[in-house]
């Protein structure tokens, strides 16, 4: 059997299990916006996600912390459809992301059309910005508005301008990415993701590739947007102070599993597990 | 399968088996020219590639001149020139040697560029380390630079050999009885089978090209074991 067929079998099986548990009640917050159920992911023989259950609600700011290699980035990339789960199920607004029903109601792997419909709800900001170097700042931000949402150039331009104003780069409209600093590039990338008004945005270690003096401006922009509240954020980060300040909930993961989760106070003031305590202590040592 | 079509198949098979001796004869000529041109081309490639990196200006200039001139030339015109025009200038070569000379000169120029760029791609540190070990210039080249450069040359050289095999079909123009020429003669006798003959001809060339690609892959694995 091919690898792909095996993958499909894995996620289809989990789909059947999920349907059986459909009636189970969600908590007082109601139906989650994003839900991971028993999600695993392997690259060849290496299992990077070993079974994750997780719910994220509309507007929630969720911070993911943990040592590198803990699979945090893979979790975000699966939500953005950049990686396919090996098994388990991932849904947005109650609709499975990686499976779809055919006309007879049978479950089958999601096709491109299904993925495209689902991607309207998700956005992503990358560690290495991934701006399009051959397009101006304005065109970077308007490209998807015109070609995906079908806005006119004028409407898209207006929306891009107000978004770029929010990230403080209105004066860079006609610059090319190569003319910007790293911090400015990342702010453009944030504008590019948010201008599509997704329900959830994955921020994948967005300050890791920046010079230390440029980190502040990017975090400030994210904090500002977080205050507005509408967009749910999955913040995969190494910046503990930032996670503490912005997140509603913090998740500590290690080696492909969730080790501990709770409010920022719980996690940073009253860590329960040995692993989390070691992790936080080591960070403290580095800082001292 | 209906009896009729299997009968047609049998007919086809027996026709093809009638052609095979001629095609095999032609294939032998094609292989011979490929191998002889290959020897000439590889020698010229090594000499001109190294020559282009020589410390002596006249040698650099000569090697560069050869590479540029023969890469700019059209192989088929060169073949005509060697076979038809050179005898007027007093050099009367047989068909085989005309073909070998023209193809060897042409492919050798491309090979020279491969040799040069493979050697230039070796990190400078390798050269400096071999100087630091006080190796002689010859030992530097033979023990340090060339073994690494050959690993880099292999994939493009393999492709060049396939180009060479393909270019031997041009000897058809000087009426050498190679594979293509034999097929054209068969076509005269079995005119209605033209598509089958050319299809078979393409297939034979494809198999021959694969016969070049396979040992090159093997050699590549063997020579790059240290990677």
């Amino acid at each position: 059997m091919t690898q792909l067929a095996q993958d499909n079998e894995g996620i289809l099986e989990s789909q059947a299990v999920w349907r059986q548990g459909e009636e189970c009640l969600y908590g007082e917050k109601g139906k989650p916006l994003v839900e991971y159920r028993g999600v695993t992911k392997s690259f060849g023989d290496l299992e990077v996600i070993k079974g994750i259950d997780l719910q994220m609600h509309a507007g929630e700011k969720l911070a993911f912390i943990g040592p590198s290699g803990s699979g945090k980035t893979t979790l975000g990339r699966m939500l953005m459809t950049l990686e396919r789960p090996t098994s388990g199920s991932l849904s947005i607004d109650g609709v499975p992301l990686w499976q779809m029903q055919d006309k007879k109601g049978r479950w089958k792997p999601a096709n491109e059309a299904h993925l495209r419909a689902m991607r309207e709800k998700v956005g992503m900001v990358f560690q290495h910005f991934n701006l399009f170097p051959h397009l101006t700042v304005e065109r970077n931000v308007t490209l998807a508005l015109t070609s995906v949402l079908g806005l006119t150039r004028e409407d898209a331009g207006a929306r891009a301008e107000s978004m770029l104003e929010k990230v403080g780069l209105l004066d860079k409209l006609s610059s090319y990415p190569s003319q910007l600093s790293g911090g400015q590039k990342q702010r453009v990338a944030i504008a590019r993701a948010l201008v599509m008004r997704p329900k959830v945005v994955v921020f994948d270690e967005v300050t890791s590739a920046l010079d230390p003096e440029l980190v502040g401006e990017v975090l400030a922009v994210i904090k500002e947007i977080a205050k507005e509240g509408e967009t749910a954020m999955m913040l995969i980060t190494h910046e503990m102070d930032f996670a503490r300040e912005v997140a509603d909930r913090v998740i500590f993961g290690a080696e492909g599993l969730i080790v501990e989760e709770g409010t920022p106070e719980d996690i940073f003031e009253r860590p329960q597990s040995e692993r989390l305590r070691t992790f936080l202590n080591r960070l403290q040592e580095v800082r001292d | 399968m209906s009896p009729h079509s299997s009968c047609a198949d049998n007919n086809m098979m027996s026709t093809i088996s009638q052609w095979l001796p001629y095609l095999a004869q032609g294939a032998l000529v094609t292989v011979k020219i490929t191998l002889l041109s290959g020897v000439v081309a590889m020698l010229l490639a090594l000499i001109s590639g190294l020559g282009r990196l020589s410390a002596l200006k006249p040698i650099r200039w000569l090697a560069g001149g050869y590479i540029e001139l023969f890469r700019a030339a059209s192989l088929l015109v060169l073949l005509f020139w060697v076979y038809f025009a050179l005898p007027i200038a007093g050099l009367d070569l047989s068909k085989t040697w005309s073909a070998v000379l023209a193809i060897g000169l042409n492919i050798g120029a491309y090979g020279g560029e491969i040799v040069r760029s493979a050697i230039q791609a070796i990190p400078k540190g390798q050269y400096e380390a071999s100087v630091a070990l006080n190796l002689s210039p010859l030992a530097r080249m033979r023990s340090v630079i060339l073994p690494q450069a050959i690993a880099r040359m292999l994939p493009p050289m393999g492709n060049l050999w396939i180009e060479m095999l393909k270019s031997t079909s041009l000897v058809y123009f000087i009426t050498m009885a190679d594979l293509t020429y034999e097929a054209m003669i068969l076509r005269n006798n079995y005119y209605t089978d033209t598509p089958l003959i050319f299809g078979l001809l393409l297939l034979i060339y494809y198999v021959m090209a694969s016969c070049i690609a396979v040992p090159v892959k093997w050699l590549e694995r063997k020579l790059t074991a240290w990677r």
Binding site: H134 | A85, K166
Partner: protein, 220 residues
């Protein structure tokens, strides 16, 4: 052995055949560039079968001689399907198909040189496949490989004498005809060879200029 008068005379005759050779080369080049792009896209298809077939066919075409392909197109295609093409079109299409397999590799090198993040950002922005290719990938992948494509134009030009086998009158066939009329072979073939060398060198000089200009613009 060498007559300057005859050389001058035959030069003029051969130069008059140059436009035919250049026309075949340019037509072949345009076909190669177009079909090559299609192959480059097909070998990146989502469907395994499409990928396999596209790369298999390209590999077959690249492994077999242009001359035999021309014979196949010119002599057997009309026996298989009800089309017959002129020598010019057979030549242009033959050159185009043959070199499209090389051109697809050139495109591939340009596409492979792009960071994976460009594809991922396109997915994250929910761009369609078509839009991703047209607005993100190709505008970045093609300009750096234009000089390599230019070199293939030169290679194609040098292959035009092969079209004489299917009776397309270009430089070599004209030289051959001249030789058969005058019974002098040295001048026509020598001059044909020189014309190819000179035109190739001029073309590669122009390609070099293009490359330098491109480098200057990107480094600025």
């Amino acid at each position: 052995m060498w007559s300057w008068d005859y050389a001058m005379e035959v030069s003029l005759v051969l130069l008059r055949a140059l436009p035919a050779a250049l026309l075949a080369a340019f037509s072949g080049f345009i076909i190669a560039a177009t079909v090559g792009l299609a192959i480059a896209a097909l070998v990146r298809s989502r469907f395994t079968a499409v990928r396999r077939i596209a790369s298999g066919v390209a590999h077959f075409i690249r492994s077999t001689p242009l001359l035999v392909q021309l014979f196949f197109l010119y002599y057997s295609l009309p026996m298989l399907v009800p089309v017959s093409m002129t020598a010019f079109w057979t030549g242009a299409i033959g050159l185009g198909l043959h070199y499209s397999t090389y051109m697809s590799e050139v495109y591939r090198s340009g596409i492979d040189a792009l960071p994976k993040g460009q594809w991922e950002a396109s997915t994250a922005l929910n761009l369609s496949k078509r839009r991703t290719w047209l607005s993100v990938i190709l505008p970045q992948a093609i300009p750096p490989v234009l000089p390599i494509m230019g070199n293939y134009l030169i290679v194609i030009f040098k292959e035009t004498p092969t079209l004489s086998a299917i009776t397309y009158i270009e430089l070599l066939l004209r030289a051959k005809n001249e030789a058969s009329i005058s019974y002098r072979v040295f001048e026509p073939y020598t001059i044909a060879g020189i014309i190819f060398i000179v035109v190739s060198l001029i073309m590669s000089f122009l390609v070099g200029r293009l490359e330098k200009g491109w480098r200057r613009r990107t480094s600025a």
